[in-house]
């Protein structure tokens, strides 16, 4: 049976791979190179060490490609593309090609197993006498090409048709000779059809199962679902403070006033102790032509800009934007959505994004106020109205009201992260406003929002970050997790303005509680940032691109080494083999008989002697022919002219008598053996 693939099969598989994976122009020369080996007569004389080197090179290629792919596309879904693992799988035929090509162009024609296992190499080094096993990569490479082609996941009928055609091609030499190809081909067609329908049925079945399971689970949980919860999924009220982790990096800019507020989300409904966003469904923002610019509306001068780097969690996240943002540039993500309260989230992006936000005081991101922005919850209404009345907020312009409230908090309140035991009959807000007069930013922001609403100024509760720390290490502003902040958005003179009434000492207070290991953390954090930046290929000078070029000299070196090997002609190698061991009698007619019997399905087993074989198939009349054949083959004196003629005549007679054995619907083996 043949162990090397039939002609053109590997080439066809490579072309198929190139067609499916989008490398047709790469596949074509590879296919030509592989198939040319059949036409070319010279061969390279390679030692096991050469194969070892080549395997090592292929391994290196795979490793480097893997690192490159993972660093450029990431393990998560990259921008509109397959995962790194899938890509690497698609590349494999190309990466392993050198080994296969060299196998085909070598005198050995096979690759020693030692090339693939260190243990075998060591064993071979210990006992040079041993001859390690060899493997023909032909069919393996064929299978790899087909599998890699499937990794392109085209899911078209052409793929399946191509796959079937290639499989048929590969199976053709292995078919049973007892049956005609006229039977074989339809049977293969039936198998292909069965495979296809089975696949479709399995797919349908999966859909049905998924739908059934979904319906069942939905029916179980529907009664408990809280539709309100959905709208507040982006809530950051509970964000842990005091963590030193750097979450944002802000590039330095002229005229940046500290602290600078970067908002993540706003909320309009207070339901103590939570702020909720009502009617805050997200709508998709369409990118500009370059795919990296996202515009929410037109901005009026003066336009300011700020560049922020932020990590995305599995490609998703809410962006920190300055108030009044109207455009985001250089944001390479798949989808951006915003809601009417000014929250902008990314649906699918890389692990790290760096984007520039353009903003003006009257940016269009926040929708104009609605009724909800003036609502004070019933529970807090008496208290808030009373304080509003005390502060004299009934008259005056919105600006004056904002100033009065800011001054009220500045004079009478202090910052504290410590929270005493809350008296039972008062709400937390009541306790803050009337008794303790101390709290953290959430108290100040909530109280301010409600007071402004009581005074008739539309207001929203906002969370985000306060930019206030300059990193000498990184030469840019860094924002730590403990810089998370909350403040109020007040609608003053047709514009949403940030109103932050939390005493400015809050930053220092939290700074004082930072860990002594903070510099170490910062250094590590910076290193991670630089790595991430390279990994996500933020700039075009990424090392990954250059790494690929570094491989070229390596490959050239290897090609030169191989080329400088002694090349021998294929015929020369073959004739040398015959010089080593003469094999006379190769033209014996007995071989024709053997072929005829093989075609009839009565072939000799590999480990069977010819005498045992003809005994097994009850072909006793072949014994005299075999005797002559043996004499012709193995007697150094050979046959004389009469015996040679006799051998030919007897064999011809047998072949003539058994001409029908190879007929299309030949008899089964037992019947055939009896006629022998």
């Amino acid at each position: 049976m043949p162990v090397t693939p039939p002609p053109l099969l590997l080439g066809a598989a490579l072309l198929f791979w190139g067609w499916q994976t989008g490398f047709p122009f790469l596949a074509l020369p590879l296919a030509i190179l592989i198939e040319a080996a059949r036409a070319l007569t010279w061969r390279l004389e390679l030692s096991a060490t050469d194969f070892h080197r080549l395997t090592d090179l292929c391994t290196l290629l795979i490793g480097v490609s893997g690192v490159y792919l993972f660093s450029t596309t990431g393990t998560s879904r990259a921008v509109d593309g397959p995962r790194a693992m899938t890509l690497l799988f698609q590349w494999l035929p190309f990466l392993i090609f050198p080994l296969v090509a060299i196998q085909l162009y070598s005198t050995a024609g096979k690759v020693p197993l030692t090339a693939f296992f260190w243990a075998l190499r060591r064993q071979a080094a210990r006992a040079p006498e041993t001859r390690p096993g060899q493997v023909d990569l032909g069919y393996l490479y064929f299978a790899l090409c087909v599998l890699s082609a499937s990794a392109a996941n085209r899911r078209t009928l052409e793929f399946y048709a191509g796959l079937c055609a290639l499989a048929a091609w590969a199976l053709w030499p292995w078919r049973s000779r007892r049956f005609s190809p006229l039977w074989w081909a339809p049977m293969l067609g039936v198998a292909a059809l069965a495979g296809y329908s089975g696949h479709v049925a399995l797919h349908r079945f999966q859909q049905v199962v998924e739908q059934t399971v979904f319906d069942y689970i939905f029916s179980m949980v529907r009664g408990d679902a809280d539709p309100f919860r959905v709208t507040t999924a982006i809530g950051h009220l509970g964000r842990l403070k005091l963590s030193e982790r750097t979450v944002l990096r802000v590039e330095p800019r002229e005229g940046l006033r500290l602290p600078f507020l970067l908002r993540e989300a706003s909320y309009d409904v207070y339901n103590s102790p939570a702020w909720l966003a009502s009617g805050a469904a997200f709508t998709a923002v369409q990118p500009e032509a370059d795919g990296e610019t996202w515009r929410f509306g037109a901005g009026r001068s003066p336009v300011e800009r700020i560049t922020v780097s932020a990590y995305l969690n599995r490609g998703r996240g809410v962006l920190a934007l300055p108030g009044g943002a109207f455009e985001i540039d250089r944001l390479a993500v798949v989808g951006v959505q915003k809601n009417r309260l000014g929250a902008v989230k990314v649906e699918e992006g890389l692990g790290l994004v760096t984007y520039t936000t353009l903003f003006t005081p009257d940016g269009p991101l926040d929708a104009p106020p609605v009724e909800a922005d003036l609502q004070v919850p019933t529970r807090e209404a008496p208290l808030v109205s009373r304080i509003a009345a005390d502060l004299g907020l009934a008259g005056g312009s919105p600006v004056e009201k904002v100033d009065i409230i800011a001054a009220y908090f500045r004079r009478n309140f202090r910052y504290s992260t410590w929270k005493g035991e809350r008296p039972r009959r008062e709400s937390a807000l009541e306790e803050f406003l009337l008794n303790s007069r101390a709290g953290h930013c959430e108290y100040f922001a909530t109280a301010t929002t409600l007071l402004l609403r009581a005074a008739g100024v539309p207001a929203r509760y906002t969370v985000g970050f306060s930019v206030q720390e300059w990193s000498r290490l990184e030469q840019r502003y860094i924002v730590r997790a403990r810089h998370a902040h909350s403040w109020t958005l007040a609608y003053v003179n047709g514009v949403w303005r940030d109103v932050d009434t939390t005493p400015a000492v809050w930053a220092q207070t939290e700074q004082s509680e930072s860990s002594s290991l903070e510099p170490v953390h910062d250094l590590w954090s910076f290193a991670v940032f630089l790595f991430s930046k390279w990994r996500w290929s933020e700039d075009d000078s990424g090392i990954g691109r250059h790494a690929a070029w570094l491989l070229i000299p390596l490959v050239l070196l290897l090609v030169w080494r191989l080329y400088s090997r002694r090349r021998v002609g294929r015929e020369a190698a073959a004739s040398r083999a015959t010089v080593a061991v003469a094999r006379p009698g190769q033209d014996s007619e007995f071989y024709l008989i053997a072929e005829r019997l093989l075609a009839a399905g009565l072939g000799r087993r590999a480990d069977e002697s010819p005498a045992a074989w003809i005994a097994r198939i009850h072909a006793a009349e072949l014994a005299p022919i075999l005797d002559l054949h043996y004499r012709y083959r193995f007697d150094p004196t050979g046959l004389d002219a009469t015996q040679r003629t006799s051998l030919r005549a007897q064999a011809d007679a047998w072949l003539h008598d058994h001409a029908m054995e190879t007929s299309v619907t030949g008899p089964p083996p037992q019947a055939a053996s009896r006629t022998c």
């Binding site: 006992a127 006498e129 041993t130 001859r131 080593a580 061991v581 003469a582 094999r583 006379p584 053997a594 000799r604 590999a606 480990d607 002697s609 010819p610 005498a611 045992a612 043996y630 004499r631 083959r633 193995f634 007697d635 150094p636 004196t637």
Partner: protein, 312 residues
């Protein structure tokens, strides 16, 4: 009296088969080894007819026949001979041991100590004996047929590897078919048939057969096949010691003799194949770990035969 080699083989076979039933394959290989000029080791369980077969062959040849029963207290001088002081001549005279014979039956050879076993080394390899500084030639026809129980049995000393290598062939008889065993019972009801066994061939016949066997033609391709098979034993997994070049030589000679017994003047691949296990297996040493895993040398040779492509 000049005969054709095939006649000699036929007569010997018939003669031995009057005693040994159901062992035609073993007899055929035994005679091939005998005709090739090599020595034979019969290893099998007690009672399978090793000694009977050895005796039958020895008695079938019209030459001198000696038998040594190997025991733990046997000494080298008991085999080779010893110099005895002659009072009258006032000189030492070499007293020949049982090794000076045509056919030597070394029964239960692995019951003697390795020292005694080794006494046969020179005799078997070179056809001479060196005692006390003098060398003594053995007869031109010197054939050792030894028997032994499997080494795992109690009271046995395994033969040294060098000694095993001196045996051209190791054969096992195995248990015969039930009908043959019944026939043995019937044949030995009154007396053992071996008692009446008479020589059927002369020493000259045997020497003629040996000469003719050496001139049987073997093509280079088959020599290469034999060498490939022997070489493969050196690379097989679980093997501590592979077969030596002496094994290749023995395999060629055995194949030649087998071809001659078939009346052919040239060797065919089947000859090499048939003699491969008897010639090669006993010369190999399996690693202890592989042995515990059930690997046998005969099984390994069979595997190699299945792997090495046979010329056809």
């Amino acid at each position: 009296m000049s005969r054709e080699p095939q006649d000699v083989f036929r007569k010997l076979t018939q003669n031995v088969e009057t005693v040994m039933r159901g062992q035609s394959g073993a007899i055929r290989r035994l005679l091939a080894a005998f005709a090739s000029g090599g020595h034979v080791l019969l290893e099998d369980y007690p009672g399978t007819g090793k000694t009977t077969l050895a005796k039958a062959l020895a008695r079938s040849i019209g030459g001198r026949f000696k038998r040594i029963q190997f025991t733990p207290d046997l000494l080298p001088s008991d085999i080779l001979g010893v110099s005895v002081f002659d009072q009258r001549a006032q000189a030492f005279h070499f007293h020949e041991g049982p090794v000076f014979t045509n056919v030597l039956l070394a029964d239960e050879i692995n019951r003697a100590s390795p020292r005694t076993q080794s006494a046969l080394l020179e005799a078997m390899a070179e056809g001479q004996v060196s005692v006390e500084g003098s060398s003594y030639r053995l007869a031109e026809l010197f054939f050792v047929i030894a028997t032994q129980n499997p080494v795992e049995f109690r009271g046995t000393y395994p033969l040294p590897e060098a000694q095993m290598d001196r045996f051209a062939v190791q054969l096992s008889l195995g248990y015969v078919a039930p009908e043959d065993e019944v026939a043995i019972l019937s044949a030995q009801a009154q007396r053992h048939p071996i008692d009446t066994l008479a020589p059927c061939v002369s020493i000259d016949d045997v020497l003629m057969v040996r000469r003719r066997a050496a001139s049987v033609r073997m093509s280079d391709e088959l020599k290469r096949y034999a060498v490939d098979v022997v070489r493969a034993t050196r690379a097989a997994n679980g093997i501590q010691l592979g077969a030596s070049p002496r094994a290749s030589l023995a395999l060629m000679k055995a194949a030649q003799a087998l071809a001659l017994s078939e009346g052919r003047e040239f060797v065919v691949p089947e000859d090499v194949r048939e003699m491969a296990v008897p010639v090669i297996a006993h010369r190999m040493v399996v690693e202890p770990q592989a042995r515990f895993a059930g690997v046998t040398t005969a099984g390994l040779v069979e595997e190699i035969l299945a792997k090495v492509p046979m010329p056809s």
